[in-house]
């Protein structure tokens, strides 16, 4: 965007504002949201510790169930190792998923609470740059938090990860993260529509994802009708892909189907979620729901 030149009181000339923004401008505008979230993250370090401790405790508490089953002989040998890794991956991927979804979906709630939402939405930033910038921070933040949880939790379990294909896991996680961006933006629409209850509603979306995606159990355990729902959650494919890569050492080509499905989720859901967000924003402006709450 060109800097405006007032030209003094007599000559009130200024260049025409931009209608469209180039990719570089959009990236720069989007990065402003990454910088802002990073500053907020630094200032809320105490909360970060709370979530880190919660993530570690949750990971340990659930994975110890597998260790107990191994100790009691319910499972043994390679199966015991695989069960521990299965739950470990479930809890870590869930920590990652929920961090991404929280960061994206809570951004509206947070801005509404601080009262800055009107100033942010009034700024001449394309919604794509705004939402993608927020999502980029969410993914980076989730990577840092989950890596720390993994580094702390892993020494508690003497598991063998010799079969793991980390390259496949990284590809699945990368493509899967893109598919989660759309889901996070969709969850973020709720606080825009429902100023008072939207935050709780976005948690409800997360809890449904937790139930149907096979985080702590195989989706085959679910009733048939819920198994159908699980196919609509990108987390199902993400978890399956990461588990196959880490436990069975699946190659990228062997996991190709899940990777393609995750890519389709991303390609469909990101534009769709941005369009839904824009429509919700318009509705909120029509009904006067952007005003400060809380």
């Amino acid at each position: 965007m060109a800097e405006l030149n007032f030209g003094g009181a007599e000559q009130r000339y200024f260049p025409a504002p931009s209608r469209r923004f180039g990719a570089r401008q959009q990236a720069s505008l989007g990065w402003a949201f990454v910088e802002r979230q990073t500053n907020l993250w630094k200032r809320h370090w105490a909360w970060e510790i709370v979530w880190l401790v919660y993530g570690v405790v949750n990971t340990l508490a659930i994975t110890f169930i597998a260790k107990q089953l191994a100790a009691e002989g319910v499972v043994s040998g390679r199966r015991a190792n695989d069960l521990i890794v299965f739950l470990l991956i479930g809890t870590l991927v869930w920590a990652y998923l929920s961090a991404v979804l929280d960061d994206i979906s809570l951004v509206v709630t947070w801005e509404r609470w601080e009262g800055t939402i009107e100033h942010t939405l009034m700024a001449p930033v394309p919604r794509v740059a705004h939402l993608i910038g927020t999502a980029v921070f969410g993914v980076l933040h989730a990577i840092v938090r989950t890596s720390l949880i993994m580094a702390i939790a892993l020494p508690f379990f003497s598991v063998s990860l010799g079969h793991a294909n980390w390259g496949t896991a990284a590809i699945v996680l990368g493509v899967g993260s893109l598919s989660l961006v759309g889901l996070g933006i969709l969850a973020g629409v709720l606080p825009l529509l429902y100023p008072e209850r939207g935050e709780q509603m976005s948690f409800m979306v997360q809890s449904v994802v937790l139930l149907v995606s096979g985080v702590y159990y195989s989706i085959n355990t679910l009733p048939t009708w819920l198994q159908g729902v699980s196919h609509l959650s990108p987390a199902t494919y993400l978890l399956r892909g990461v588990r196959n890569a880490v436990i069975s050492g699946a190659s990228p080509s062997a996991e190709g189907r899940d990777i393609v499905i995750l890519a389709v989720f991303a390609v469909v859901m990101i534009p769709m979620s941005i369009a839904v967000f824009s429509a919700a924003e318009r509705w909120a402006k029509r009904t006067g729901r952007l005003k400060r709450q809380g």
Partner: protein, 282 residues
Amino acid sequence: MFRATPDTHRPLVVRGVSKTFTPGFHRPWSKAPRRRVRAVQDVSFSVRPGEIFGLIGANGSGKSTLIRILSSLVLADEGTVEVFGYDIERQSMEARQLINRVSADPSFFRQMSALENLLFFGRVYGLDSADTKRRAIEILDRLGLERTHQRAMVKELSRGQQQKIAVARAFLSSPVLMLLDEPTTGLDPRSKRDVQEFVREVQHDHGATILLTTHDMDEAEALCDRIAFIVGGSIVAEGTSYELRSSIANGNGADAVDLEDVFMELTGKSVEDDEEEVMVNG
């Protein structure tokens, strides 16, 4: 029609703007009629290049809703708003590059410092970090906010200091149309004077056009080139302070009355009285 270049002769043109809100959500099982509140009713006015146009009204008169409509934050039910020729609804992106706003309630990320907040808002208006920081410090210095306060968390600052940061945020992007929604409400006299002087300076030195809402008659008298009174969401009078005062002076000379007298005469109430909500049937 989509405009490609700005119309520099018409900073703000408002035509027949109306807005009614229906609070709450529609409940299909409820037979009770929903409450509808009229906020703005058939408002039309235009602001000339480089002038400070004052919109005076009591709390609840529709000033803030009107400012939100002009800022693209509320969509009008009827009427049009053009900012330098750009329709605020259909060419919102262009219009938003030319305007900025100070609200009565300074809202920030309270855990971040003034400079961190301004850095973000400068960046989303397309300024680079270094330029934003330089300008932010310049404006905050000019507004009299000490350097230590510029680096303190916003939550640790007084309301007056926060309002100065809000003014700095709005002027950071060099808007050619500034919407000031009660920018000095609740400020101590010194802060109020600092902000008023800055507004006057920006108008004089940079030729910015300013729409100012207030219920402070002295402020309106001191700053505004033209004034409109808004009551119950409608504009009831418009003119220079002299014209408005002359209109009720009955030949005694405009100096015999002040703007408060004019407001009382034309509306039957004081600008300090809060307005009741205007309900709409159907």
